[in-house]
Subunit: 185 residues, 2 copies
Amino acid sequence: MALAHTILAVLSHSPFSGYDISKQFEEVGVGCYWQASQQQIYRELGKMEQQGWVTFEKIPQEGKPDKKIYQMTEVGQQELRRWFGEPTEPMPIREDLLVKVLAAPFMPRDLLVKELRHRRQLHTEKLLEYQAKEAEGKVCLPVPVDERFRYLLLRRGIRYEQDWVDWCDEVLDFLKQQESGPSQK
Amino acid sequence: MALAHTILAVLSHSPFSGYDISKQFEEVGVGCYWQASQQQIYRELGKMEQQGWVTFEKIPQEGKPDKKIYQMTEVGQQELRRWFGEPTEPMPIREDLLVKVLAAPFMPRDLLVKELRHRRQLHTEKLLEYQAKEAEGKVCLPVPVDERFRYLLLRRGIRYEQDWVDWCDEVLDFLKQQESGPSQK
DNA sequence: AGCCTATACTCAAATTGTTGAGTATGTCAA
DNA sequence: TTGACATACTCAACAATTTGAGTATAGGCT
């Protein structure tokens, strides 16, 4: 049920349309740590409206479908606060790449190397993107409080990507060592 | 579809019963980077059998239901190899805790601190568990090849938990600083 | 003129994941 | 001896996620 709460968290900053929210889920701000498709968001908003967590105002538009601007209700705020007070559990990692490492002893070594390089590349790109964002934000101080919290999320993203890159290097090093000197069978 | 491939990866080490596999998913070896419930595994094994990726041998047992020992087929091996050659994408992070940080500017600060300490604790425990495992494994060399690959997975787990602990500390520091000197509004 | 992208939302289907109950028995400890 | 725990699997229902199509129009590119 965390999707609903993520939407509530977004709406606590300001009212948005479903489309706006889905855009935010694609961006670095939200999307780098919680993904959801447009369809999921629309459906969830529908459910949330039924539960009274949000209300919407229909904005008629010409040439486009009517926009629905969603806003948190008092009930929604209470729900968010209630959820905020509950302890969370870490999400389990679910990574195809790690499954590949599990299967690796029985697979051609070069395919694994290729894959690791590929992943290293992807994580490096993300990392650079986040670091650019970080440098950008550091220019102008003072910053409003919620910007500072966003910065902490960005830090989480940076660490995460850096960690992946480092691990890829570690594995790549391991494989190189194995190759050069397979001293033990 | 990665669950099926994870099961194939497990079965490439040796034949197992569904129950055995589900046990492995609970352990550090597999479970720390791919979770699945017993029911999921049984269901998946059923599907895989229909597709011809695995076969099973019924082992009658006294006092217990018959055991089904699953084994990869030639087709299953081919499938695993095909999948192994395909590039993988990083899984998106989905963390309640990060959603909480997003909502944090509008929530009581002490609840966030409590939550961060809680999570820091959980990750520290995991970390110690993994590090114990690491130290254990380092005693006796030489090690067979597939043990070495398992070690790389353990390293991924260690890094992951360490990274979470470090980030929690970073956020906790940030909050302490905010508290003591809220110089800018 | 034809195509792609962006805005803005809806509906349906398939797959995956979670939760809980049900069947059966052996072992170990309080 | 009662209750918890481990073995070993099945079935059912629900919730969540993914995938894809469908409706509609404006604006820009070729």
